[in-house]
């Protein structure tokens, strides 16, 4: 068994760990209702105590902050603990898969579609764990692990190629920079998509969507389909839409800057490799479309009547374009970005 095969096995291991983590995250979310009730009771008791403490104001500093939901006290549950530790273990296995692939291929492991997904999901999970160090984003876990497991398996089954050296056209330090930044941006867009998707769901539930209140689909007052698969109550547990929008924006802002750099770096490389900075190659077209969609998102946020829900849809559309750019464009169109057969 060579190093390339070991890397593949490790990638399968990481995908398995993420799947287990995803199930644990989902189980945790299905239990949160009870925990919430307990917590609300506890909070009410605390408020009563505080309200009772009167007396003259003390010297020194006091500040009033609108409590941000993201920095709320951290919830504990058995399922959540299992989910987080499995995700961390999965990430470590993923790191090993990433490193062995790097050594086996002899170049940075993002030179073909399989490697792109291997490293893109690696960035997404890494970013999720990194964010968790600062704020509680465990509610994102179910979506992030789901997407990562899915893309890893998809990559292993459909796009997989054996680790190999790259052809002369790719022998350039821009492979490290241009594609590396694109991979990072993709990872960030994955997490921001998860955030915005939850924002849209929670917003719909808050605004009385019968489907997302577990009451089925209601048309003109008649319940036409009683979807009872989920009660969607976990949506009450995740942060408010405004907090999710703020988190998504910060991620998207970083993603947008990195994407801008991806395009500029790509143009510089294209100028050296293909003799033109920009030539509307299918990959260039879609990179441009992605850039414009996220630019539209940034504009929508500051346009009256478009902030919030409508802006979040741009993130969903933008991420769909990102996915298409790294799958459909290679598979459906012929262009200069086709290497390794696919």
């Amino acid at each position: 068994m060579n190093l390339s095969e070991i890397s593949d096995l490790l990638a399968w291991g990481a995908a398995t760990a993420y799947t287990v983590a995803m199930i644990a995250f989902a189980m945790d979310l299905s239990q949160v209702t009870d925990a919430m009730v307990q917590r609300k009771t506890a909070r009410a008791a605390k408020t009563t105590v505080l309200a009772g403490s009167g007396g003259p104001e003390q010297y020194g500093v006091s500040s009033a902050t609108a409590p941000s939901e993201v920095v709320e006290e951290r919830r504990r549950s058995k399922a959540l603990g299992i989910a987080m530790s499995t995700t961390t273990i999965g990430f470590l296995i993923h790191a090993a898969a990433f490193a062995t692939r790097w050594v086996a291929a002899g170049h940075v492991p993002w030179a073909n579609m399989y490697e792109f997904w291997l490293s893109g999901t690696f960035v997404a999970v890494g970013l999720f764990l990194l964010l968790q160090l600062k704020v509680d984003v465990r509610f994102l876990g179910v979506v992030v692990t789901f997407l990562s497991a899915m893309f890893l398996v998809l990559g292993l089954n459909v796009f997989h190629v054996v680790a190999d050296e790259v052809q002369p056209a790719l022998q350039n330090y821009w492979l490290v920079i241009h594609v590396g930044v694109a991979v990072t941006a993709t990872g960030i867009f994955t997490v921001s998509f998860a955030t915005s998707a939850l924002q849209l769901l929670r917003d719909s539930r808050d605004n009385g969507s019968t489907l997302l209140r577990g009451e089925g689909t209601v048309v003109r007052g008649r319940n036409v389909a009683a979807w009872r698969l989920m009660n969607w109550r976990f949506l009450d547990q995740i942060p408010k839409p405004t907090a999710l929008e703020a988190l998504s924006f910060r991620l998207n802002a970083v993603g947008f800057v990195l994407w801008t750099f991806t395009i500029i770096g790509g143009a510089i490389w294209a100028e050296d490799a293909w003799g033109r900075a920009w030539g509307w190659d299918p990959k260039e077209v879609w990179s441009f479309v992605i850039w414009v969609v996220y630019a539209a998102y940034l504009h929508a946020r500051t346009t009256r009547g478009w902030a919030g829900r409508r802006a979040a849809w741009f993130v969903v559309v933008g991420y769909a374009c990102v996915l298409f750019n790294f799958t459909g464009v290679n598979l459906l169109f012929t262009g200069k970005h086709s290497y390794s057969g696919i």
């Binding site: 010297y59 002369p168 490799a273 920009w278």
Partner: protein, 583 residues
């Protein structure tokens, strides 16, 4: 821009219609929401209305979405500029649809009327937006922070500081706040600060930071304009030439020496630098196991305009810089050197003929035209070069791209090559209209297999062909675009601008310090004189660090003795119970 809707700054305000990025969250934010603009009657009024609409946020957003959608067909349909052959094929496969798509510009999307219309409108909107915004921002840069609002109650970030008046005076507070706010950050003061005394005697400090946010925003948008202009100018000024050069030969940088030459409308032929170049040798490396390409290098000698010579090399990804132009290695192949003698034994043709590679093992296709025969008919040879030939019963094929066992596989035509009609011909194609193919007795075409160094008789007594040597050729692409530097500068400007704009918080901080009399916090019931300080913060857009900024300011105020802030018997206030910092 400068201006916000908290109604405190005067003059220079400009806001695009429909933008909502003002300092937000304050109660005393006056509602200057621009209602629907009612156009005045008349042409001027209509124009003004149209202009306001075009420069509004909603229209800009709409145009952005349209731009994204309009760019997509260019990836779906083959494009004339990128792949003319694919467009021709598409037209053959779908004659009716293709005709309509062609009329509507779908085969040249990025030069089509509709695509151009969208981006021209978008950039017009952008100019209409950034010009007044630049003016407003320049004004804001010279404007003092807005005066301290009367009430702080509804600001999103607030803080309070209380001290005995005999220990800390409002003047101490004001001085400490100003010192803190003016702290140096990368050599610049963090905040622009003004102090004031209110009629009541309260001291106030108003501070604002993050002017770079708007500066970055403007730099970003101006840079986008720069990218568009550089790109457009590049198309007008660039030139591009392609030449196929065989080992040992060269070419000069003049229009006639290129096989193809394209240039922009404003290109001046006399501006070509008259350097020349010789291809000394070409090396390729293929992996022995699967014939995968590993490296290509062209070794060249460049003769500069002043006559000096230098050796250099061109690789894939590493073009040669010469006189402001770049020379790219775009392709390579074999140009077998052959000598054809006619039936009289005279040399009718001698030279290298490039054969174009068709696959990974360099099965190369080519034509040898022999017009200058001393007697008899003209000869045309069509066929393949196989770098490493493997001959079996079913025919010959190439099995490796390096020339290990090179062989020419040719069929022979004789008659009139059609070269004397004056109609330009493709050198890689034989026009067989006036020619007859040499056939075996059984009616199949005569196929000649010529190994390197061999001489083979041509059929029908046409003469002989000798395969002398196998030099390589390279396809070079020379391009000169004087605007590339501007394109790069604009791109980096856009990157820098958008980073600064997205990550610089724009904040306003206000401090009010007064004195009052109140019961002593120690619970003794005495009345004491206190210095009461209130701080409020406001940000433009989302700003999760705003409260942190307020807290940092509070902790920069004069420190109080431990026994005052932590009385043994006291109870904490509701607000400070969780967030009281102990510094």
């Amino acid at each position: 821009m400068a201006d916000d809707t908290s109604g405190t700054t005067a003059g220079g305000s400009y806001r695009p219609e429909g933008i909502a990025d003002e300092f937000s969250g304050a109660a005393d934010t006056s509602t200057t929401s621009p209602g629907p603009t009612v156009p005045r009657l008349g042409a001027v009024g209509m124009l003004r209305f149209a202009w306001r609409q075009l420069t509004s946020m909603r229209v800009a957003l709409f145009l952005l979405m349209l731009l994204a959608v309009a760019a997509v067909p260019g990836s779906v349909f083959p494009q004339q500029k990128q792949d003319p052959a694919a467009v021709a094929q598409y037209m053959i496969d779908n004659p009716t649809l293709g005709e309509w798509l062609n009329r509507l510009g779908f085969f040249d999307v990025y030069a089509s009327v509709w695509f151009s219309a969208i981006y021209i409108l978008l950039f017009t909107s952008l100019v209409g937006c950034i010009l007044p915004r630049t003016k407003a921002h320049l004004h804001a840069l010279r404007t003092a922070p807005p005066r301290t609002p009367r009430r702080f109650a509804r600001f999103p970030a607030r803080g309070r500081y209380l001290a005995p008046a005999d220990l800390v005076s409002p003047e101490d507070v004001s001085a400490a706040a100003v010192k803190h706010l003016r702290r140096r950050y990368l050599g610049l003061p963090a905040f622009r600060v003004v102090t004031d005394v209110e009629p009541s005697g309260a001291l106030t400090v108003s501070a604002e930071r993050g002017y770079l946010r708007e500066t970055g925003n403007l730099v970003f948008h101006i840079s986008l304009l720069g990218i568009l202009i550089s790109f457009g100018a590049g198309q007008m000024l660039e030139y591009r030439g392609q030449a196929i050069v065989v080992e040992g030969r060269g070419f000069a940088n003049s229009v006639v020496d290129y096989d193809t030459f394209e240039s922009g409308a404003l290109f001046d032929e006399n501006s070509l630098e008259p350097f020349s170049m010789t291809l000394d040798s070409f090396e390729s490396q293929f992996r022995i196991t699967d014939a995968k390409a590993q490296d290509f290098t062209a070794f060249v000698t460049v003769r500069e305009t002043d006559g000096t010579e230098r050796a250099d090399q061109i690789k894939v990804n590493h073009p040669l810089d010469q006189s402001g132009a770049k020379i790219y290695l775009q392709g390579n192949g074999f140009a077998p050197s052959v000598t054809v003698r006619d039936s009289a034994g005279e040399i009718a043709f001698a030279g290298s003929v490039p054969f174009l590679p068709q696959d990974d093992v360099y099965t190369s296709q080519g034509v040898i035209k022999v017009p200058d025969v001393s007697t008899g008919e003209q000869v045309g040879l069509v066929g393949y070069l196989l770098p490493t030939a493997e001959v079996t019963d079913s025919g010959a094929r190439s099995i490796f791209p390096d020339p290990i066992n090179p062989m020419l596989v040719l069929t022979v035509f004789h008659g009139d090559l059609g070269l004397d009609d004056g109609v330009p011909q493709n050198v890689y194609r034989l026009d067989t209209d006036g020619m007859t193919q040499s056939l075996e007795e059984d009616g199949t075409a005569v196929t000649l297999l010529v190994g390197q160094g061999e001489t083979v008789d041509l059929p029908d007594g046409l003469g002989t062909i000798e395969f002398d040597a196998l030099p390589r050729f390279v396809a070079l692409d020379l391009r000169h675009d004087p605007t590339l530097g501007w394109l790069l500068a604009s791109s980096l400007g856009a990157l820098l601008g958008v980073s600064v704009s997205l990550f610089t918080p724009r904040r306003r901080i206000w401090v009010r310090a007064t004195q009052d009399e109140a019961p002593d916090p120690d619970g003794s019931g005495r009345t004491v004189r206190r210095t009461v300080v209130e701080v409020a913060g406001l940000a433009r857009g989302d700003d999760t660090g705003l409260q942190g900024e307020v807290d940092a300011l509070l902790h920069a105020l004069p420190a109080l003795p431990e026994d005052l802030t932590h009385p043994q018997h006291g109870t904490s206030t509701p607000d400070s119970s969780t967030r009281k910092a102990d510094r």
